[in-house]
């Protein structure tokens, strides 16, 4: 009864692409229980839809025949599974001990100045999300930061400023994204609710 209901809600405008469906089928062969594939499938869903809005979680629950509650519990626990849209460029600066000792606070100050947003915020144009991140474990090359999936090591404030200015130029050309680098933007246009928390109630 419950499964049938969830299948209904997932049909509400959202569906996985055939390629993602095939990857999910392969993932399911790797685990003796379907829930084992949950985190990998949430990654795939995030790649496809940009972020894990409530309807996406319902789709995942229906796909894996799991309760919506268990999918939500797992999605909420992990910081890299996005519960709100992020900017096209997700700038994450490590401010843990080793990077702090090597000047990471200057990088945060540089980002705040250039982007005009504070850590934890997304710019109004939807181009940048700025965050302080915990140890990226490349401390011998501190200070470190990540922009989307790319690492930057031994970064000086001047190098960082140049990088951010280049991304601003690129961003004007590309426009805001739907939240996750590489997500399929042809079928998933940017979400109007950028920067706001979704309701998972």
């Amino acid at each position: 009864m419950r499964e049938a209901k969830m299948a209904d809600s997932s049909a509400n405008g959202l569906a996985f692409s055939p390629q993602t469906k095939a990857r999910i089928a392969e993932l399911l062969t790797r685990y003796p229980r379907k829930q084992g594939a949950l985190i990998p499938v949430l990654w795939l869903a995030q790649e496809e839809f940009g972020w894990l809005k409530p309807a996406v979680l319902e789709l995942v629950a229906a796909e894996l025949q799991l309760s919506k509650a268990s999918v939500l519990a797992t999605a909420m626990f992990y910081t890299m599974l996005y519960k709100r849209p992020h900017g096209r460029f997700h700038v994450q600066i490590c401010t843990n001990v080793a990077c702090y000792l090597r000047g990471s606070d200057d990088l945060v100050a540089t980002a705040v100045e250039v982007l005009g947003i504070n850590p934890g915020e997304t710019s109004e144009d939807g181009l940048f999300t700025l965050q302080q991140v915990q140890c990226l474990c490349a401390c011998e090359r501190a200070p470190t930061l990540q922009v989307n999936k790319t690492d930057y090591f031994d970064v000086t404030p001047n190098q960082f400023r140049a990088l951010l200015e280049q991304l601003q130029t690129d961003g004007l050309r590309l426009g805001p994204s739907i939240g996750w680098p590489g997500a399929d933007e042809s079928t998933n246009p940017p979400d109007a609710s950028t920067g706001t928390e979704a309701s998972y109630a």
């Binding site: 985190i39 992990y78 890299m80 702090y100 140890c135 990540q146 690492d151």
Partner: protein, 418 residues
């Protein structure tokens, strides 16, 4: 300085992400040797080596394997590549630059423990590691080094990569197991231990990346020769990192028991600007801090334990004289608050108190009594939680309060005067 090159092979300048290159340099040479020894023979060599888990806890690997129950349930091998301990950067080397070392270790260890499915759990932020490891696994499948009937041996092994999604706590082995099962990474009460009730309720061995990478080396040189490299009860060589305020931060390989001073000054090039050392974190920020008077001890599990600290991940963070220890303590406290999974009250609430008190100190809004309050809060967490995250939060803060009290008091007075 007796630097070794058994595990760390950057000096060869070879691209070890290509299977051909790995094979040319002796890769998988230990597979026929393992078949010759049989599973019990492999375990005997690992036991003789005294290899202790390189993830931080230092539990003897051969003993851990020996805990698997003798029943018919399928067994799993799980690799803890969830490197996230602040200050650490050692498993990244294998994952990005020498991925087949770990995978050969996986094959040998799975054979020894009769496991046919292996999950490699890599932290979500390690994009490059994930790409390299996934590609290495694919290369092994196409060359017949994974899958059914490996190299005609009759042994089957499937290896899957399972990536984390930004939760430090998943480096705790039972949280990691929960995460593989698709659940929030909340550590389990032990017992039952993973050997008996691990992933999907099946017998499971969880080993760290560096631990597994050492297994082919141990088989090649023999368990006893590996043990003889280190100090008694602390066999072998160890990857060690040096970061923070040093001239030449980097990753090195030394015999267990090498004095910390040699690692910092001979390999790490000494402290920036010739300054004196204020404090060091020996193996990731969960470890109690050491003073400059404690750096002549042997860098191994027992040496650190004897001074009330831990070897941890063996990646050293050096903090130079003149640094602001309250700010350092703030970064540590913030991290453990952020990463607490929240299931135990002393940790969930206590890490928040620690952070709040340190923030008050940093803002100049607290006096010396706050140091005692911090110690009191640490004592309230220590020993009262399901997993070691509570201790990981409490021990370093308490060590700073106890060992560096004059320094903290001076910093508090300076803030009050400002």
């Amino acid at each position: 300085m007796p630097e070794h090159r058994l595990l760390l092979r950057t000096h060869l300048g070879v691209d070890f992400t290509k299977l051909d290159n790995y094979l040319k340099h002796g890769g998988f040479k230990m597979w026929p040797r393992a078949l010759e020894l049989g599973p019990a023979g492999v375990i005997a060599q690992v036991k003789a080596s005294g290899l202790r888990g390189r993830g931080g806890a230092g539990f003897p690997t051969g003993t851990k394997w020996g805990f698997l129950p003798k029943d018919e349930r399928p067994r799993y091998l799980v690799v803890n590549a969830d490197e996230g301990e602040p200050g650490t950067f050692k498993d990244r080397y294998f994952l990005e630059e020498d991925p087949f070392r770990q995978l050969e270790g996986i094959l040998l260890s799975a054979y020894a423990t009769n496991a046919h499915i292996c999950y490699i759990y890599i932290r979500g932020e390690y994009w490059n590691s994930k790409d390299v490891t996934e590609d290495a696994i694919a290369q092994l499948y196409s060359a017949g080094w994974l899958g059914k009937n490996i190299q005609g041996s009759g042994f089957d092994l499937e290896v899957y990569m399972h990536t984390g999604a930004g939760a430090y706590i998943c480096g705790e082995e039972t949280a990691l197991i929960e995460s593989i099962e698709g659940k929030p990474g909340m550590p389990r009460l032990k017992p039952p231990f993973p050997a008996n009730w691990g992933v999907f309720g099946m017998p499971t061995v969880v080993n760290n990346t560096e631990t597994l990478a050492a297994v082919p080396v141990i088989l090649e040189m023999g368990g006893k020769a590996w043990a003889d490299l280190g100090t008694p009860n602390n066999g072998g060589t160890k990857l060690v990192g040096v970061a923070g305020h040093v001239n030449k931060p980097g990753l090195f390989e030394v015999p267990m028991g090498t004095p910390i001073r040699e690692i910092i000054y001979d390999l790490g090039g000494g402290v920036l600007g010739g300054a004196d050392i204020l404090a060091i974190i020996p193996g990731g920020s969960s470890c109690p801090f050491l003073t400059k008077d404690e750096i002549d001890i042997p860098f191994d599990f027992d040496g650190l334990k004897n001074v009330g600290s831990m070897l941890g991940t063996a990646c050293i963070t050096v903090i130079a004289e003149g640094s602001d220890l309250i700010k350092v303590m703030g970064r540590v406290a913030k991290f453990y608050q952020h990463e607490s999974c929240g299931q135990c009250t002393p940790c969930r609430q206590g890490t928040g108190w620690l952070h709040a008190i340190v923030e008050k100190l940093d803002a100049g809004a607290a006096d010396e009594q706050a140091i005692d309050l911090l110690i009191d809060a640490c004592n309230g967490i220590d020993g009262n939680t399901i997993c070691a995250h509570g201790e990981a939060a409490a021990w370093p803060i308490r060590s700073i309060c106890e060992k560096f009290r004059p320094q903290l008091e001076a910093e508090i007075r300076a803030r009050a005067a400002a």
